[in-house]
Amino acid sequence: MHTEVNVQNLGKHYGPIKAVDGISFSVQKGEVLGFLGPNGAGKTTTMKMLTCFLTPSFGTANICGFDILEKSIDVRRIVGYIPESAPSYDDMNVKSFLEFIADIRGYDGSERKKRVTRVVEITNLSSVLSQDIETLSKGYRRRVSLAQALIHDPPVLILDEPTDGLDPNQKHEVRTLIKDIARDKVIILSTHILEEVDAVCSRAIIISSGKIVANESPTELRRRSRYAGSVEIAIRTEEARRVHDILQSIPQVQEVETLSNDAPLSHYLAIPAKGAKIDEDILKLAKERDWKIESFSIEKGRLDEVFRSITGGGLS
């Protein structure tokens, strides 16, 4: 069995509404794929199709050799899934809920006990084992849902906004967990938190209006930003008033923003022309003109700006 997900021209139309409009991608073992996009872009619909909850209008996907249309039960056997709202049977307590899932997944007796104990340990649930799920806080409910998805140690994990509604500590825990287990799995997670992409994803797919508009690593995505490679510099000099124009005169610099100007100290952001490298030019210039550099940093690019510009939200 080769662990990979292969999506071919997958689509879901509701009448005239194209929720997902023919997307294709593939994911290899060891990858954590971030699924990004504005609300309503088709992230959840795609995940529901991959987990065989929704039948696609056209196209298909292959998960570890099983076709989602023809081998639905086999696909569901090897996929672990957390739906968007992390639903679980609220009237059950954590232990019996996890045992129920283990039962359905085909484990019984000591194997079932071992599986439940393992996921309880991973997700830190031992203190609430005998509590009814409806009495748990949102963070714990998410964890129950995560435990449920991990019980069969699935080669493919599909997580729909796994950190939604968690506090920063819990978010950190979940991300650490995802990174820990990612090595021998395929993980597809959706999110609209951009820092999460940086924190856990090895690759990001951005979809907008049902279509894939970007499919690359977070670093590559960042390079699309107009701020990528821009230089933020604080300079102490007597000619503070002229610094802006001098920076602007560097051929590769497209624009200079004055962030603050309290002569003799002033603060600038120099934005390069697309793809250009300006840090060395600026350093050279500073040396020539005998500016005293107080701070200097090169921007990697801003994901949120890239996100806005390619999903059509960047009106500014």
Binding site: I73, V79, Y81, P87, D90, D103, I104, Q148
Partner: protein, 245 residues
């Protein structure tokens, strides 16, 4: 089949877990008592049989069974657990049947709790126990049919009220088309008798009454069992096609 049993087990445990279900039990037993003794005049008839008990069941179930069946699927839809359930390796019919059987076991237990009725009638006279047992079998099959219709409609909506009302109405029609005063009314309006008889053959009421007379006819049992199977199969089809709505 293993999954059917697991779902059945979980579902039945959730019945025992829910306080509303005990309210249902009390209502069921109380109403049975009131109808049998007060309205049907159990003592006044001075006959050692349970007819005044069973004759109310088609009507009593009209209110009580949809109250049980409405949550079977509507609740899964509402709370989103339907997405959890059907992204597990579970077949549609397994889930449908497992949940139905749990509900059926519950209503059957409720019915069995009316055993003091049997003791009373045995204490007072010499009832034909065969007829009593046939009555219970008929009533179990009847409740199963209501439940199957109910779980079909429950599978179509996330709204429990709608599920209740539609189940109630459907079962009411299924009773009335075999209920003598109702059939008589249409006869008086010069509807052809053969047509009315054909329609009445599809009624819960006709088949139930024939069983409670003490005749366990294969055709009546077949009627109920096939109606249950069809409803469940229909429900499974509905779920298959509109899981996510």
């Amino acid at each position: 089949m293993r999954n059917l049993y697991i779902i059945f087990k979980r579902e039945f445990a959730s019945y025992l877990h829910s306080p509303i279900i005990y309210v249902f039990l009390i209502f069921f037993l109380l109403l049975n008592g009131v109808f049998t003794f007060k309205i049907a005049g159990f003592y006044e008839r001075a006959q050692a049989d349970l007819n005044p008990f069973f004759m109310w069941h088609p009507w009593l179930y009209l209110f009580l069974i949809p109250a049980v069946s409405m949550r079977i699927w509507s609740e899964e839809r509402k709370s989103g657990t339907i997405e959890l359930l059907f992204t597990l390796p579970v077949g549609m019919f397994e889930a449908m049947a497992g949940k139905f059987l749990a509900a059926w076991l519950f209503t059957t237990i409720a019915l069995c709790l009316t055993f003091p009725m049997v003791i009373t009638v045995m204490y007072l006279g010499n009832p034909d126990l065969g007829v009593v047992i046939a009555g219970y079998i008929g009533s179990i099959l009847l409740s199963g049919s209501y439940l199957a219709v109910g779980s079909f409609f429950s599978a179509t909506t996330k709204n429990q009220v709608i599920s209740f009302i539609v189940t109630f109405s459907t079962c009411l029609v299924m009773v009335l088309i075999g209920f003598e005063p109702f059939v008589k009314y249409f006869q008086d309006m010069h509807f052809p008798v053969w047509l009315l008889e054909q329609i009445a053959a599809f009624s819960f009421y006709t088949h139930f009454m024939s069983i409670t007379k003490g005749i366990l006819d294969f055709r009546d049992i077949f009627y109920f069992l096939s109606l249950i199977t069809l409803s469940l199969y229909g429900g499974a089809l509905v779920l298959e096609n509109r899981k996510a709505v």
